[in-house]
């Protein structure tokens, strides 16, 4: 038994030949990608929602195709397509200007592809939230003579935020887990680092368990934080359910 624990301690040691340090670095990359992608998704989501609600017919059609296609095709396939298409497109542009092709920074590429995918889901979350605002409130603001941006900032956004929060919390949890898909493309975040560690040491079970625990910790800590945020924005409201 003691030998078994020593084995585990050796394989998870923070300095090589232990893999603990690499796993934590992988976790850090995963979190960086998740934060970046989530921020991008929020921006796309707000923009997409505004386009869907206030845009002209062409904008609406384009956004409808974007959200429907991304939500109906498996994330893994969208990620691969975006990654290849993005790289090719960038190198095509660079070639036009007489530059040599480059390898895109992996972190940035990961953030972009995950962000674009989650942006589609985020658009729908915001659209659902804005549709749940009583029209009278917005009309009241209009009749006070508030211009659009003031209306948006003072009325729509504050009413919308608590209603969007459950969906947004869910989206954050999905984003952190979706970063694992990048392992299939070859980004060395937590999942791929784990695979390499497991392959190198042959302790498959141990390393996948450790990875699962790390992801679980991210989720559980996120849950606590998200609950706090939700409570903050719901203060003064009746408790739902």
């Amino acid at each position: 038994m003691q030998e078994f624990i020593q084995d585990i301690a050796r394989e998870l040691a923070l300095v090589p030949p232990g893999w603990g340090g690499n796993l934590l670095r992988g976790l850090l990359t995963t979190l960086q990608i998740a934060f970046g992608a989530y921020a991008l998704a929020l921006v796309i989501g707000i923009g997409g929602m505004l386009g869907k609600v206030y845009g002209g017919p062409v904008t609406r059609l384009v956004l409808e195709v974007y959200t429907t296609a991304i939500r109906a095709v498996p994330e893994l396939i969208v990620l691969l397509l975006l990654y290849y298409a993005g790289t090719d497109f960038l190198n095509f542009i660079l070639a036009k200007f007489g530059h040599d092709p480059v390898d895109i920074n992996a972190l940035l590429a990961g953030i972009l592809v995950i962000g674009i995918v989650q942006g589609a889901f985020c658009t729908e979350v915001f659209r659902g939230a804005i549709r749940s605002i009583p029209v009278g409130q917005v009309e009241a603001a209009q009749s006070f003579g508030m211009p659009f941006w003031q209306r948006f900032r003072r009325i729509i956004l504050p009413i919308m935020t608590p209603r969007a929060l459950p969906g947004l919390s869910n989206l954050w949890l999905i984003t952190t887990k979706d970063t694992a898909l990048l392992a299939v493309i070859g980004f060395s975040e937590l999942a791929l680092t784990t695979k390499q560690a497991a392959g190198a040491t042959k302790s498959y079970f141990l390393f996948y368990m450790v990875a699962a625990v790390l992801y679980l910790c991210v989720t559980l800590i996120s849950n606590v934080v998200l609950k706090r945020i939700e409570r903050h924005y719901r203060r003064g409201q009746k408790q739902l359910a």
Partner: protein
Amino acid sequence: MDWSWIPQYAPKLLEGLWLTLQLTFLSIFFGMMLAIPIGLVQVTGPKWAARLALAFCTLIRGTPLLIQLWLLYFGLGSLFPSIPVIRETWLWPILREAFPFALLAFTISVAGYSGEVMRGAFQNVSKGELEAAQSFGMRPIKVLSRIWVPRAIQSVLPTLVGEFIMTLKATPLAATITVFEVYGVSNSIRQNTFLVYEPLLLVAGIYLVLVLILVAVFRYIENKMPQRALH
């Protein structure tokens, strides 16, 4: 764009498609078989069972499916050969295949996500309906099978459909453990033909159609259910 490879690889793609469908529907079926008791014990079961079910749902929903899949296939799969007894049993031929591991991983994933949905669903059914059933003299098991489960599923059908679509969309992950479902087939086509986009686009199109069919089927079922609702 070059699509001339399609006739040559059509049989392979159809095989992959069949595997995708099998994986999706079997895991939804077995997953729901587990999800119903997992949801139910959290509402009416003994405390230890409720806690266990909640822990299971948290664990499954808190870790990426890809890691669960790899943990089962590479992790558990690497432990089995070291237990010689297993080689003698009927289990051994099954444990050497990848498909059962994929099916198991997807089943517990459906069980975890839908179990959480079913918990809310069982709570949603109003007490009056259950009491009415009881007062008709139905035994608890009959109340469950005739009133509680059907009413619970009915109330969350749209959410469940969302979960089922997630399951369908997760099946490409099985390709990472050598299950040659439709995405796995497209990967080998890409390696053989050196095409980057076309096979991926075809698979994207196939999934798009599958999702639309699934949505249409469940909308049909939803409409079949008699329900008083505001429209």
